[in-house]
């Protein structure tokens, strides 16, 4: 009989840090100790605390082990599972109290302020076992919708809940559904956008990997609401684990009759297929995505007509993002009133953010709308490592903008972010400290959009390229007076004239960094300096003669022979030869080399 469950994270993060080997070692060791029948090893989705992977939780104690290695497994099995003694050296130190007692994970800084709705089952259930999803109330919402509600009631419930699209733009989901439902009867489609392309965002992947049945259930509910019997999930091929788990889930749902004909004894039928994307950023744009599903080159087309009227294969289509769908079963099951109580006046519910950049707890967090950036970064994220100062956070990836320190206490929701020149986007949140150059950041995102522009419309294809050229010039020290104003003009032109969301939002990183960090642009252009000391062309490495002991180490590591000097005498760097690799500064034991 099973007396203990070991949950091991099988998300992409922990998988790449070795969790499959840990699962194998656990099973082997349990077998050796004769515990295989008593202890069950379960592979789950992402726990969120990716920085500390591989992660595992041992129940019934709820012990949270982090950064586990294969070599630790014999000790965990022998001590904890056989003798009941927790291996404290491997326990996540935030859960260890002063008394030495191990506290609940929910009381740690990382989890305390979180509220998991979309991620409710990630790290809790085995995503490849439909029974575990059902044990945690899975498919009840679909059953309730089909047997106790009319399609109109379902749409009304979603409208009342105030749920808005989590893909970025924040359009009310219920309203979108009602448009598609209002179209004349006939073939309609439900699509899911799982083409998560923002650099740094991975919440959709985590939902697919950790709770794929939630997506299936929600899409079936959407199908019932608008009168569609067919759905497509468009997911990028770079997410192999997510694709595999979704395939397994669809198969299991079909076997139990939760997909297929006459679901729950009604005359509603629904079928689901997966379409793999090749990883083009533009295919996250709804019209390009549908063009791609149709088998054509992924390019956007003008709107209107909107997809709800004329979408996939020219038929009325509802297209939502993974995280949006993940909220649907909860809303149907617990009611719009319940969902409505979470969040701010105009942004209801929670939002998942992918924390990255200069932050201690890199990972996935879900917080109620209205949580401040300060709470997310300082409390949940554990602050910035190395005692550095917070400078800005980039939300919304290449379509968004930066939030400077002065706006850290603004409650985060759709409208507040837009009012300060950023946007929610899909929820990537990249933290930057004093060592980040804002011009360089803008250049990085533009470099990305130039690569990813599909080339169909001129403002995006040529406009973003010209913007990037200007930014390149500025970071190389060749900026000219008037460049800032010229860039601003071009940004506005692109925003107003580009065909799709990609082009319309591409200038945002430039505009928002100019808005909040104009002084850095000016320093690059007028003083030819990079205040954050990032832009190589504007830096010079120099040896402070008083501190140099003449140990010759720097001269020996310099790959281009730019450093000269005799033993026990101060050395000198030839700026003409120096390629600014920084190797000398790294090696110097006396702090005698500075960059300025």
């Amino acid at each position: 009989m099973v007396r203990s469950h070991i949950l091991v994270c099988g998300g992409t993060g922990c998988t790449s840090s070795g969790s499959p080997a840990i699962i194998r070692a656990l099973e082997e060791q349990l077998n050796k100790s004769g515990l295989s029948d008593e202890v069950k090893v379960v592979q789950t989705g992402c726990f969120g605390l990716c920085a500390l992977g591989p992660i595992m939780i041992v129940y019934p104690e709820g012990t949270f082990y982090s950064m586990v290695k294969v070599g630790d497994i014999p000790e965990i099995v022998e001590e904890h599972l056989l003798k009941g003694r927790i291996v404290t050296r491997l326990v996540y130190d935030e859960t260890v109290q002063e008394s030495g007692e191990v506290a609940s994970l929910d009381d740690t800084g990382f989890y305390k302020k979180q509220m998991r709705v979309a991620l409710r089952n990630c790290g809790v259930i085995n995503p490849e076992d439909i029974n575990e999803y059902i044990a945690y109330d899975g498919y009840q919402a679909l059953g309730k919708a089909l047997t106790q509600m009319t399609p109109e009631q379902v749409i009304e419930e979603i409208k009342t809940s105030g749920l808005r699209g989590r893909g970025g733009a924040g359009f009310p989901t219920g309203v979108k559904w009602s448009f598609a439902a209002a179209q004349p009867k006939g073939q309609k489609y439900v699509c899911c956008n799982a083409d998560e392309g923002d650099p740094g965002a991975f919440m959709d992947r985590s939902v697919l990997e950790g709770d794929p049945h939630a997506l299936i259930e929600a899409m079936a509910i959407a199908g019932y609401a608008i009168g569609a019997n067919k759905g497509y999930v468009y997911v990028r091929a770079e997410y192999p684990i997510a694709v595999h788990r979704l395939q397994v889930a669809i198969k299991q749902a079909k076997e139990l009759g939760l997909l297929g004909e006459g679901i729950f004894g009604t005359d509603f039928s629904f079928d689901l297929e997966i379409r793999l994307g090749a990883g083009a950023f533009v295919c996250g744009e709804e019209t390009a995505l549908m063009t791609s599903i149709e088998g054509n080159r992924g390019e956007p087309r003008p709107r209107p007509p909107f997809p709800a009227v004329k979408g996939l294969f020219g038929r009325p289509t509802v297209l939502n993002n993974v995280e949006t769908y993940a909220n649907i079963p909860r809303i149907i099951l617990l009611g719009a009133e319940w969902f409505n109580k979470i969040g701010t006046e105009k942004s209801k519910g929670t939002k998942v953010f992918a924390l990255g950049g200069k932050i201690t707890n890199t990972g996935l967090v879900e917080v109620p709308m209205g949580t401040t950036l300060r709470e997310i970064i300082e409390e949940i994220g554990g602050g910035i490592p190395g005692g550095k100062q917070f400078k800005a956070a980039q939300t919304g990836g290449p379509s968004g903008g930066c939030i400077p320190a002065k706006h850290m206490d603004i409650p985060i929701d759709y409208d507040n972010l837009i009012s300060i020149g950023s946007m929610m986007g899909s929820g990537g949140l990249i933290v930057m400290d004093e060592d980040s150059c804002m011009v360089d950041i803008a250049r990085f995102f533009l470099d990305f959009t130039v690569d990813e522009s599909c080339g169909k419309c001129t403002p995006c294809r040529i406009g973003t390229k010209r913007l990037l050229e200007m930014l390149d010039r500025i970071t190389e020290g060749n900026g000219k007076p008037g460049d800032i104003e010229k860039m601003e003009d071009l940004c506005h032109y692109i925003k107003e004239n580009a065909l799709c969301g990609l082009g319309q939002t591409a200038p945002n990183p430039v505009l928002s960094t100019i808005r909040y960090f104009r002084d850095e642009y000016e320093a690059h252009i007028y003083h030819k300096t990079c205040p954050a000391k990032v832009c190589k062309s504007l830096l010079n490495y120099t040896i402070i003669a008083e501190k140099c002991t003449g140990c010759t180490l720097c001269a020996r590591v310099c790959p281009v022979g730019a450093i000269t000097g005799t033993v026990k005498q101060p050395h000198v760097i030839d700026h003409e030869k120096c390629i600014k690799c920084g190797a000398c500064m790294e090696k110097c034991r006396f702090g005698a080399i500075v960059k300025e």
Binding site: M1, V2, R3, S4, H5, L7, E38, Y59, P60, E61, G62, L82, K83, G84, R85, S104, L105, V124, N131, E132, I134, A135, Y136, D137, Y139, Q140, G143, K144, T147, L256, G257, L258, I263, F264, G265
Partner: protein, 122 residues
Amino acid sequence: MKSLEELMAIREKARQGMGIRNDKHEGTRVVVGMATCGIAAGARPVLSALVEEVSKENLDIQVGQTGCIGICQYEPVVEVMEPDKEKVTYVKMTPEKAIKVVHKHLMGGEVVQEYTIGRVGK
């Protein structure tokens, strides 16, 4: 899937055994001393018997292990901790005695005095 009832039946079945994953369990806890002394004295079969019986009777009780509590001569030791009640310590346990504790104490609410440390120790 033909009805909501069918789904709920699958749910009930699937939920069995999932209670282990609730670390905020506030009900009764039973722990077995599983240090070297306990294992040497035969704590493993006692633990297995407890786990099996609790699950067979479908009781909402958590069974776990603990280390040595310092009375090695009385191993195997089983402790029953009920909310708002004093802890009961059973000593020199066997699988048979453990099953009796499940039925009399955990289900019937009556402490099996003859196995407690107060009796056996004297």
